[in-house]
């Protein structure tokens, strides 16, 4: 393993965007862009993860993030091993730290962790010698999602500085929202959030964002709208009275888009609850870049894996 000082990021692990510096984010985005250009020119991808093993340890159901990391590692020539809660010994009472130490004893090169408790990736990073990439910890952070959002924004808007971005939905319970806010702020974007007061985090304005409760008041001069997935099954009572009411006040439909700038981009981390967060015509419309986010996700994750443990990167 390379000492962290020797990798181009100067980071052992990628745990969140809150403490990523501007030049570190730029390094990741540059690397991703360069990989994308090569792939678009059909040039072969350098196998910088040859002989490297990436463990995907997922304690929550996930389709796209896990698939995206797995593809990313394999396209770089790496080996992946999938471990879920059911396949690890967590079901037998083994603690997270013990599970991770056991895995580390098998000498992998990097661990990707998805976990329902905030801080889990941080705790493992403190206990393990290998790099850890946080693929989502509770409500806390999901840094690779935010970075792929930035990559997509840069691609379509050519800049991040001064860009006006509105995040809509359940901000309080969203790791995507936190990571997006930190990363966008660091890169100079102006960020607003909008959602029902029950789903906004306490003191959201102290995160340096403008806070709205009325969607129609929030959208007019935004360059980008990021709609978040509403997870009704997790919310419990007392957050939103009904799906219908959420969709009425916070759903993004074509009428609302009529109030937006003509060149507004619509993004969503997926999976979309059609008709709830986004109406079908918006989700599939010309302003939606949701599938571009997914494609970029693989490339962005390739960039991160390569920067952390890749062979030829200096």
């Amino acid at each position: 393993m390379l000492p962290s000082s020797l990798n181009p990021l100067g980071l052992k692990s990628v745990l969140g965007t809150e403490f990523l510096k501007k030049d570190q984010i730029q390094t990741i985005l540059d690397r991703a862009q360069s990989l994308k250009s090569r792939m678009e020119r059909s040039e072969p991808v350098e196998q910088t993860l040859k002989d490297k093993t990436v463990i995907l340890l997922f304690f929550e159901p996930s389709t796209r993030t896990r698939a995206s990391f797995e593809l990313a590692a394999k396209r770089l020539g790496g080996t992946t091993l999938n471990l879920s809660k059911q396949m690890s010994s967590a079901e037998k009472g083994e603690t997270l730290v013990d599970t991770a130490r056991t895995i580390e004893a098998m000498a992998p090169d990097l661990l990707v962790l998805r976990h329902p408790s905030a801080g889990s990736a941080h705790v493992l990073d403190q206990k393990l010698k290998i790099p850890v990439v946080n693929a989502g910890d509770g409500f806390h952070e999901h840094p690779t999602q935010a970075l792929l959002d930035l990559m997509t924004l840069l691609e379509f808007k050519k800049r991040l500085e001064g860009l006006r971005v509105l995040i809509v939905g359940d901000i309080a319970h969203s790791r995507v929202a936190r990571s997006d806010i930190y990363a966008l702020k660091t890169m100079g974007a102006r960020v607003s959030v909008c959602g029902p007061p029950t789903l906004l985090p306490p003191f959201a304005e102290r995160m340096g964002v403008e806070v709205f409760h009325h969607l129609e008041r929030a959208v007019s001069d935004q360059d980008v709208i990021i709609a978040l997935r509403i997870q009704f099954e997790r919310l419990g009572a007392g957050q939103i009275p009904s799906r219908g009411e959420y969709s009425k006040y916070y759903g993004i439909n074509s009428t609302l888009l009529g109030r937006c700038r003509e060149d507004v981009l619509v993004m969503h981390p997926g999976p979309v609850n059609r008709g709830l967060e986004l109406s079908p015509e918006v989700a599939d419309g010309s302003q939606s870049v949701i599938l571009n986010q997914v494609s970029n996700g693989v490339i962005l994750r390739m960039a991160i894996l390569e920067l952390l443990v890749g062979d030829k990167i200096r």
């Binding site: 997270l96 329902p116 905030a118 705790v123 952070e141 985090p201 102290r206």
Partner: protein
């Protein structure tokens, strides 16, 4: 056996005394105290030179968890009493949330049997308010009183049924037992694991709002007023609690309160690295709460200092923040943390000692906390000038769950004396 403590700064708030002088102990009692006492030449006289040290009534920690019976892998009455002695405490009260719960006289008697055979210091039992801490039926308060409990509490849980609280307050007046309230509304607390605020939003952890505490403090004060009975608020942690307690005292309601070392010295900033040793109930709050608690301790709105010593094993703490148990140990770090406020000029020495001696003794109704002639010779000697680094590896407690490991502090316990017997001597290998 006789003991002559010489040339110490004797601080005894029970007698409003703060002088340099000697204490003479004979047959386990304070025999003489003053600047120029005459000590008889008795055989076997043990002398302690206390020059530069404080000589105070033995300290009292009215809020601890000793985990026996049922949780002896975390702490026992023996190890808890050693931890107390090393922390300078000569008397402690242990909470009822053991397994089985101390909700009947058999458990109370078991605890006192263990105490008499194994404890190095005085240990008093607190009885449960409700059976099994379930908040549904009153525990056998009278039988436990006869077996020796000194207070009532469902600590660890909040009695959410106001009717039952009212009945408990009415009933316990018969025994003049104080009801100690752990004030956290369970519906507002929900699955919260830290203070609700900007930091909980940042760290992605579920918050526990201040209102969860304030609403129960307000309710309990109103019920205490209605029943004209005694209420003690455990581990006050919010600016709102302080205001409610201050107002209640002004109106003559019989309410007292305590504050812990951690709520006086830490904010929820400490949670940033997800160190589960910072997970505690009520949670670490924010600077304005800490400031309010310090002021309230200084002006007497908050009566006592108490550690809420809550031992947990590694397997309870080396887990995800959401899953970790609430609580931290505190008896061996309490004094230097309290003393930090004195060093910073926020608290007078006399007020600090009062909050560690005569105030908790009065609230629990135990004849301790004083150096009056004839009193039990429970004495703590501390050197306020010694600086050192807290090292969890040297704790006498069976557990290590402290967020203060590595802190640079000032003020060290030199001798802990219980009934005239030295049970802890820092210079002679610690526990005696």
């Amino acid at each position: 056996m006789s003991l002559w403590i010489r040339n110490g700064r004797i601080i005894d708030p029970s007698q409003k005394r703060d002088i340099v002088g000697d204490v003479f102990v004979q047959s386990g009692k304070i025999e003489a105290i003053g600047p120029n006492i005459v000590v008889p030449q008795v055989p076997g006289l043990n002398t302690i030179d206390a020059k530069g040290c404080w000589v105070t009534p033995g300290w009292i920690d009215m809020h601890t968890h000793l985990r026996e019976p049922g949780g002896t892998h975390k702490e026992t009455i023996r190890t808890g009493s050693e931890s107390a002695a090393a922390g300078g405490f000569t008397s402690i009260a242990c909470m009822a949330n053991t397994q089985p719960v101390n909700d009947n006289s058999y458990v109370t008697s078991y605890i006192y049997q263990k105490v008499s055979s194994e404890a190095l210091i005085n240990v008093y039992a607190i009885g449960a308010v409700t059976k099994g801490l379930q908040g549904e039926e009153l525990a056998e308060i009278g039988s436990m009183f006869d077996a020796g409990i000194v207070g009532l509490s469902d600590d660890g849980k909040t009695l959410m049924n106001a009717y039952l609280l009212r009945k408990a307050m009415d009933y316990s007046k018969r025994f003049d037992l104080v009801i100690i309230s752990h004030a956290e509304d369970s519906s507002l607390k929900g699955k919260g694991v830290m203070n609700e605020g900007f930091n909980s939003a940042r760290f992605g952890l579920r918050g526990i709002p201040r209102t969860a505490e304030d609403i129960i403090v307000a309710r309990d004060i109103l019920v205490a007023e209605h029943t004209n009975s005694r209420l003690h608020i455990a581990h006050a942690s919010t600016v709102g609690s302080v205001a409610l307690i201050r107002e209640a005292k002004r109106r003559g309601i019989q309410v007292t309160a305590e504050v812990t070392p951690h709520h006086l010295t830490l904010t929820d900033d400490a949670v940033i690295h997800y160190d589960t040793n910072t997970k505690v109930a009520p949670p670490l709050r924010e600077k304005r709460d800490v400031d309010a608690l310090r002021e309230a301790l200084s002006d007497g709105t908050i009566d006592t200092l108490a550690s809420d010593h809550a031992p947990h094993s590694i397997e309870d703490k080396e887990v995800e923040y959401d899953l970790a148990e609430f609580g931290m140990i505190g008896m061996e770090t309490a004094f230097p943390l309290y003393h930090k406020l004195v060093v910073e000029g926020l608290l007078s020495i006399n007020r600090m000692i009062e909050a560690m001696t005569i105030r908790p003794a009065t609230i629990l109704g135990i004849s301790k906390g004083t150096l009056k002639v004839g009193a039990d010779a429970d004495i703590t000697i501390a050197d306020p000038s010694v600086r050192y680094t807290i090292d969890k590896q040297v704790f006498r407690s069976k557990s290590r769950n402290s967020p203060f490991d590595g802190w640079e502090v000032q003020g060290r316990v030199m001798h802990t004396i219980v009934g005239g017997k030295v049970v802890y001597d820092a210079k002679a290998g610690g526990i005696q």
